[in-house]
């Protein structure tokens, strides 16, 4: 009897334990993000949500997790346009001419546009959009067209530009004959994208769709999709620096979700990220979406100059004031002598790059052009042009940026060391040409130099 009872209880217990476990482990259990519309949302916006949770569950789910959804900001608040606007989505309109209408009913038809611009964002975030519009980010298309030989001499193809340069810098959005967005210009989330409404840039470069997270933009990963590689390895430099080391070691403890205006060094984070120094408010320094405002040298320019003297896009700031702002940011964690002595080292490195490397090389290049040994018609088709370009555009930048953000390997091995080698080789070849009077070899088979050389009319007007 006792034995039977034992069997029975063990058996029942076993069944009782295993059934819920089996239920919980049911494979392929669909997890659908719920969004019950329990607040005042216009019926048209409800229709968007109902359709798009089925047709584009990824977008819907992401939005549902966002602060926008939290604040009742729906699809319509950003994507609604006026009838007759250039960018009204034709595909979306066409859906309503179907006879079956499987998703939204005709009464919910609204003109919408796929592309949301900083101007759209400015409806609710006007100050942020205004700050951004003054930055080099927003105006980068103007800057590159004023400087860059790839574009101005048409040395790469339109496709190479779309997938390369303009993916970060931004395309000029155009509408094709069929009223659709020209695929040569889209998709694109470049920081300086020229939008149809005249605004510049894309907020989703850093606050990706459809979460639009503040936390994300505070992380260095928000910047690293563009700020990397041989010509501007800011993310690699950051990672090598102590700031990056501490970030990687302690990021789990960082409070990236602090409310706007409250993100505090020493409290919410132990060492700064890109945004912490370049944008966030610290102490008495107010935060700004003008990411280039706290700079005191243009370390990306061929010859390092002050931001107010940067001809393609003068900052309109005073570099001493901006340096003081940055020093105030530093002083949240560093003492005065640390900050001042660091800047002294930075200024010396910049001075040396300018005087010892750049200016003599530039003078030699000009000499070659003047003597007719190099040909000015195109760029990159003669070896010395490439050498000179890489001297400032690649290792010259690595040296300066590596110094600025305290990454010794980038300052020296990837930086000044490479500058030295490049300089010596450049000078050897240049002097050889001058001594022998021999003209440089011009590449006859330069590939894919087919890119359009017309400057964007939206910025430069019709004049050449």
């Amino acid at each position: 009897m006792r034995r039977t009872l034992l069997f029975l209880t063990t058996g029942l217990l076993a069944i009782g334990l295993s059934v819920p476990a089996a239920l919980a482990q049911q494979p392929n259990y669909a997890k659908v993000k719920e969004f019950r519309i329990e607040r005042s949302v216009p019926p048209e916006a409800q229709a968007c949500i109902e359709c798009h949770r089925e047709t584009t569950p990824g977008i819907f789910g992401d939005w549902a997790m966002s602060r926008h959804a939290n604040a009742n900001i729906t699809c319509l608040d950003c994507h609604l346009v006026q009838p007759g606007d250039q960018d009204v989505s034709q595909g979306h309109e066409q859906y309503y001419s179907r006879s079956d209408l499987p998703w939204g009913e005709a009464k919910y038809k609204m003109p919408i546009a796929a592309i949301v611009t900083p101007k759209d964002c400015s409806r609710c975030h006007p100050d942020e959009a205004t700050q951004y519009s003054k930055s080099k980010h927003a105006n980068t298309i103007e800057i590159i067209w004023k400087l860059d030989p790839w574009l101005n001499k048409g040395m790469n193809s339109d496709s190479e530009r779309k997938v390369g340069c303009l993916a970060c810098h931004g395309t000029e959005i155009k509408i094709d004959d069929k009223g659709k967005i020209d695929p040569a210009t889209w998709p694109n989330v470049g920081v300086g994208r020229l939008n149809l409404d005249g605004s510049k840039g894309s907020c989703t470069s850093c606050h990706t769709r459809h979460r639009f997270s503040v936390a994300e933009a505070r992380m260095p990963e928000a910047c690293d999709s563009c700020h990397l590689g041989p010509d501007h390895p800011q993310i690699e430099i950051f990672e090598e620096s102590k700031h990056g080391t501490i970030y990687n070691a302690f990021k789990d403890e960082y409070n990236f979700k602090a409310a706007a205006g409250t993100w505090t060094p020493g409290v919410d984070y132990r060492a700064p990220t890109c945004a912490a120094c370049h944008m966030s408010g610290t102490g008495k320094v107010p935060s700004s979406h003008d990411v280039t405002s706290r700079l005191s040298w243009e370390t990306q320019a061929p010859l390092t100059i002050r931001p107010q003297d940067f001809k393609p896009f003068p900052s309109g700031t005073n570099w001493q004031d901006e340096r003081q702002q940055m020093k105030n940011v530093c002083s949240a964690c560093h003492g005065e002598s640390w900050i001042n002595d660091f800047y002294e080292g930075f200024d010396t490195a910049v001075e040396q790059y300018n005087e010892v490397y750049f200016k003599p090389a530039k003078a030699k290049l000009d000499d070659l052009y003047e003597k007719g040994l190099l040909d000015k018609t195109k760029y990159f088709d003669e070896r010395l042009e490439v050498e000179f370009y890489e001297l400032w555009h690649h290792e010259g930048r690595r040296a300066r940026m590596g110094t600025m953000m305290m990454a010794p390997d980038y300052a020296w091995w990837h930086g000044f060391y490479e500058c030295k080698l490049r300089f010596v080789n450049f000078m050897e070849e240049a002097n050889h040409l001058i001594e022998t009077g021999q003209k440089a070899y011009i590449a006859k088979d330069f590939p894919n130099a087919t890119g359009d050389t017309t400057r964007p009319v939206k910025i430069f007007g019709d004049k050449k």
Binding site: S40, P42, E44, A71, N72, I73, L76, D77, L80, Q82, P83, M110, P111, T117, P118, K119, D120, C121, S122, R123, C124, H125, P126, D127, A129, T130, S133, D197, G198, S199, K200, P286
Partner: protein, 187 residues
């Protein structure tokens, strides 16, 4: 006693003379403050026609916002109001006969530049609590409590609102596309 009689009759004389003067100028002000009067200038007529079809005249509350309500200082700034009105009236007449052709776009920009948020906020006072328009709540805070250096005008975002060339009567409550500010004009 005699003193009082003289004084009293002087006051009486003053009232007798000034009353018609005041009432006449008041009458003139009222007569020249109607949209119909504004439309009597052919330069202004298209603006009045567009205004008539806008939501500032067509809404369920029956509120009609006249030209003066937006385009002149608030009547409580009496001196300002009278001065601005007289100045503009005189200027318009002179320009009509002496000036170059009327450029509507330039006039529009000049009007935006002249607008004062107070003019809009005479009527639009409850701007901060809009549970159905949380974005507008956020944006309006940055205007009402602007940070130094970030002062904005209502018309920076709300433009082409009244004098747009839709050619259709827009009735506020039956508007099919929800109203949205356009975002900063200067971007």
């Amino acid at each position: 006693m005699k003193k009082y009689i003289i004084g009293g009759s002087l006051v009486f004389l003053g009232v007798l003379l000034s009353f018609p003067l005041f009432s006449m100028s008041y009458y003139t002000m009222v007569r020249t403050s109607t949209p119909e009067f504004c439309a009597s200038c052919h330069e202004i007529k298209p603006a009045v026609v567009a205004w008539r079809s806008s939501t500032h005249t067509n809404n369920a509350a029956g509120v009609v916002v006249d030209c003066m309500d937006c385009h002149l200082p608030a009547p409580q700034d009496t001196f300002q109001f009278f001065f601005a009105k007289t100045y503009h009236g005189a200027k318009d007449v002179v320009k009509h006969f002496m000036g170059s052709a009327y450029d509507r776009e330039r006039a529009r920009e000049a009007a935006y530049a002249a607008f004062d948020n107070d003019s809009c906020q005479k009527c639009h006072r409850n701007l901060l609590y809009m549970p159905t328009q949380r974005g507008a709540m956020l944006a309006h805070r940055s205007v009402v409590y602007a940070r130094p250096g970030y002062e904005k005008k209502c018309v920076d975002c709300h433009y082409d609102l009244v004098h747009s060339e839709k050619g259709l009567v827009m009735f506020r409550q039956t508007r099919k596309i929800p109203y949205q500010a356009k975002g900063l004009k200067q971007l």
